[in-house]
Symmetry: C2
Subunit: 201 residues, 2 copies
């Protein structure tokens, strides 16, 4: 619980008191719940405080604004729940990452993320933070999977890595958010075996 | 103009008066504008009426509810603006379809569609209508492109057609709505040449 500025979360302001990590988590959980219920626009610090049975001042000591609170919540939960896979093969790394990501998007974080998507055109700061936080952490993991596979000689160095990274994330969000069908292991196997691996080999 | 029930739009109710098509279009345009401004949840029939300088009764004579109005607006504009391409090759058909679709999603219809996406988890009827109207018309066109290409012997009959159809739509919506970068001709060429065609040949 360092109070030094964190490079990963430049928007998070640390004020006087030391942070209580479990308190922060309870507030993040409440944030997700409120956002899944009413969306980003209608979310208020008051509603989050009420849901977490905390004082509003407690929230403001930790996050300066609703935007900061929501972005920090999403970033924190994504980085905590999506580890870099290392199975030894690209196909299995992709399967592991996509399964973890699909599980995350199927739960409350996914509902909250979907509520955010609807707001992005109206909220440029939110859009910027969503992109640098949420999307780029996803891309970073995928890129590392492909780099490791290239180094092992398992996939072509001249394969369209950027396009595969984009399609992997696109397929999951489109299926879960727009089509509304599950991204279960059968689907993930199809995605990896019918599309992603053939483009890389 | 016909007042007979239309198989494609089972939710649209035709009441006493004959429809005034240009009046309907003005109301649809106002619907899109209001939705792009405030989202689906905050949209009211009153706001649409005010924007179109129409009476609220005019709207209710044509659409029974906000849900019907929004869905009919999206379906009508999609079906009117996205023709089935027929260039003679799968690659060019895909390029033509994807460009038209990207243009549509980049304008007010896209903003409105994005606002809808954020509401889908909370609005099961809206989600159902969005899926059968908006998404399935997109898939139908893509499937016909692939069927024609298979019949011409241009692409493999055992290629993963379903996956390609899903990825084509996913790539565009993910790029425009989530990443927030343009789906310009350069991007569409990459999508077709680096990903979709290699999976089909």
């Amino acid at each position: 619980m360092a109070t030094a500025p964190q490079a990963e979360q430049p928007r998070t302001v640390q004020r006087g008191r030391p942070r209580d990590a479990s308190r922060d988590d309870a507030l993040r959980k409440a944030t997700l719940e409120v956002m899944a219920d009413v969306g980003y626009r209608a979310l208020t610090m008051d509603a989050v405080a009420a849901r977490a049975r905390a004082g509003k001042a407690t929230i403001y000591r930790r996050w300066e604004s609703k935007l900061e609170l929501v972005i920090d919540t999403c970033q924190e939960l994504v980085s905590r729940n999506i580890p870099q896979p290392d199975t030894g093969t690209v196909a299995d790394d992709l399967r592991e990452f996509l399964s973890t990501y699909a599980t995350l998007l199927t739960g409350p974080i996914g509902k909250a993320a979907q509520a955010l998507v609807g707001e992005l055109p109206h909220e440029p700061e939110l859009a910027e933070a969503f992109r640098t936080g949420f999307l780029s952490s996803q891309r970073k993991i995928l890129r590392r999977i492909l780099e490791a596979g290239t180094a092992r000689g398992e996939i072509r160095a001249d394969a369209p890595h950027g396009m595969v990274v984009e399609l992997a994330g696109a397929a999951l969000t489109h299926r879960l958010m727009l089509i509304g069908e599950p991204a279960d292991p059968t689907y993930i196997d199809r995605l990896v075996d019918e599309a992603l691996m053939p483009l890389l080999r």
